[in-house]
Assembly symmetry: C2
Homo-oligomer: 127 residues x 2
């Protein structure tokens, strides 16, 4: 077993960042929440190609990871709002860097990715 002597400490920041961003709609959700779209139904309308189920799952993960905070208003009908935490806001420049790189090199990437499988509906949202 390779891991016998390896510390459990997570030493690589890239892995952590990939982990919190892992999930098809996480960056999209962060984008819209940062823009002020905060309620589940609004997010659902903003991202119609994702199902409620997946949106809920990924919102829960974002909350668990501390990137967003969820506020529940005990009403009828129920009302829920999400907003970015400080941690979530600190991630925005990193996402911006990723977006800039992808935008700058889209021409070089598009043909290969189109052939080998980026679903087009994902890309049309500015995340």
């Amino acid at each position: 077993m390779y891991q016998k002597k390896i510390s459990r400490t997570l030493e690589c920041g890239v892995v952590l960042t990939k982990e919190v961003l892992h999930g098809k709609w996480k960056s999209t959700l962060l984008h819209f929440i940062a823009q002020g779209v905060q309620r589940p139904s609004s997010l659902q309308r903003a991202i119609p190609m994702a199902t409620r189920r997946v949106l809920n799952i990924q919102l829960n993960e974002l909350e668990q990871h501390g990137l967003v905070r969820k506020t529940v208003f005990p009403q009828l009908p129920p009302k829920v709002e999400y907003h970015l935490t400080g941690l979530g806001q600190s991630l925005l420049p990193v996402i911006a860097a990723m977006e800039q790189w992808g935008d700058e090199h889209r021409a070089e990437l598009e043909q290969v990715l189109a052939a080998t499988g980026v679903p087009p509906e994902v890309g049309v949202l500015r995340v």
Copy 2:
């Protein structure tokens, strides 16, 4: 069908960046290739917790995406080298930004991620 009128153009850079970095060992491979570790067997020794198969698959994807170039020397025994392309090098600052964010916020992230599933052996490599 939502996509009826949606252009196939991939408009969001984040999706492109996530795509080329998608795969458990891609950032690790880029890290070591950038450091000058270029031969498959060396990469295998550098990342012993990944199997040859997965390393080959992800190296092939990196090559298809244009981030690395593969050079085959027709010898016996065969010799292969990888090196970063310009596109691959242009991605390094983005990876660095991801690594920095993860490093800065490790304390806030570690407990949650440890509980919900980052395998420890991944994190110990500085990617």
